[in-house]
């Protein structure tokens, strides 16, 4: 026997829907509350941690880097804003702004020596020398973080990798692939000759000379005609250690 649709059936269905909705809302609410609670706990824990290890974070570059890594994993950026509890708690925002200013300063001061391309390692050494008074040491990781903050200014600060080395670029020069390859080759001895470049990359003679001339004009290379074999050497202050006075 077939049952006909009746008002009773409709009412039952509506009541069931209501029940489900109510239940769903409840579950969602419980979840949100739980989440909120967890977040609060998490935040307190993180704050506690930061407070407890405040000195380590400020003084020890390795620890600081690990702390950043941890924050990055859980999606917290202590540098995102200078306001807020991180800055108040750690003064960490200020620290990187300060580094940023000092990095800009060093890049400008050494620009005429290296053409606006400086070895990250050397930048770090110079930075430590300058900050002697501040006494907390600075790692390359800190430099990278500070530079990434500088990008916001659109001033063309960038870190480029050439071979194994990282170079910090403070001029808007575009280096093409040829230039990068030459810089990489130069890392071995600090210089290259036209022959070396041609032999190593099997370039036609004009290509090597062209690229080297460009690097020379940009102030990234310096010529040296003083060697006994009287072959011109192109030196690159940005890849040789301690070329800057």
């Amino acid at each position: 026997m077939r049952r006909r649709p009746g008002i009773g059936g409709l009412q039952t269905a509506a009541a069931a829907r209501d029940q489900y909705r109510l239940l769903g809302e409840n579950v969602a609410k419980i979840r949100t509350d739980l989440m909120k609670e967890q977040l609060t706990t998490f935040r307190t824990q993180l704050e506690d941690f930061a407070r407890k290890h405040k000195n380590d974070i400020r003084k020890n570059p390795a620890f600081r880097s690990q702390f950043h890594e941890m924050c990055a994993k859980i999606g917290v950026d202590p540098l995102a804003s200078n306001k807020g509890f991180w800055a108040e708690l750690l003064g960490i925002g200020d620290f990187y702004y300060e580094l940023g200013v000092q990095i800009v300063d060093i890049c400008l001061a050494t620009r005429s020596l290296n053409g606006g391309l400086i070895n990250l390692q050397e930048l770090c050494t110079l930075l430590c020398q300058r900050r002697k008074a501040a006494r907390d040491s600075v790692s390359e990781d800190d430099c990278l973080r500070a530079i990434s903050k500088l990008k916001v200014l659109g001033s063309g600060f960038e870190v480029i990798s050439v071979g194994k080395k990282k170079l910090v670029r403070s001029v808007p020069t575009e280096l093409n692939k040829d230039h990068n390859e030459i810089l990489e080759l130069a890392q071995a001895q600090g210089y290259v000759t036209v022959e070396e470049v041609e032999r190593r990359f099997s370039w036609p003679s004009g290509r090597a000379t062209d690229a080297l001339e460009t690097l020379l004009e940009e102030g990234l290379a310096m010529i040296d005609d003083g060697h006994r074999d009287s072959k011109r050497r192109y030196w690159f202050p940005c890849v040789s250690v301690s070329a800057s006075a």
């Binding site: 005429s112 053409g115 210089y191 010529i223 040296d224 003083g226």
Partner: protein
């Protein structure tokens, strides 16, 4: 850090390209600037007043990296000092260069300070005494170049602060200071 006697050499002294004149303007300017400072510094600490461009000069050769300055480079760096008033060519051929890490006026001031500090106003000294006497020992005036000293004294004479007397020989030229 490499040294020349007791003189500390700057980093760039060990970087070969600084011994070749750089063709690019900005780079060259920096290069000239660094060499100018080095020359003045070195001459001042070593009390060298004259650089002979064709003679051996320890600063212009770096044995360690086997580089030396060409004649053209030496002349460029010294000429840059000349144009700043920190040096003077002593001949037309630009073979000898007088290095003035203090300008003549500054030397004259130093002499007057020395005279005041030692209470030698109104007394007579020979030029040799100023250069090598006991009174000037330990001051910058000790061992100073005779030409530079004479010129500084002449400047003081023009200003009425000193009077130079000719002696029978160059050795006993005298000078009387007035405060």
């Amino acid at each position: 850090m490499q040294k020349l006697g007791d003189f500390k050499l700057p980093q760039f002294f060990n970087y070969p390209p600084y011994f070749t004149l750089q063709p690019v303007r900005d780079t060259r300017e920096k290069q000239v600037q660094l060499w100018k400072e080095l020359i003045i510094d070195y001459c001042k600490t070593q009390k060298i007043f004259v650089i002979g461009i064709e003679e051996e000069f320890p600063l212009f050769t770096n044995q360690v990296i086997e580089r030396f300055l060409s004649h053209e480079a030496k002349e460029t760096f010294l000429s840059a000092l000349v144009s700043e008033g920190r040096a003077e060519w002593m001949d037309k051929g630009h073979k000898r260069c007088l290095i003035l890490w203090h300008r003549i006026q500054e030397w004259a001031d130093l002499i007057m300070r020395f005279v005041k500090e030692t209470g030698l106003e109104d007394s007579v000294m020979t030029i040799e005494e100023i250069r090598s006497g006991i009174e000037s020992r330990g001051t910058e005036l000790h061992g100073m170049d005779r030409t530079v000293l004479t010129r500084a004294l002449k400047l003081l004479e023009q200003k009425g602060k000193a009077a130079i007397f000719k002696g029978s020989s160059a050795d006993d030229e005298g000078v009387k200071f007035s405060a």
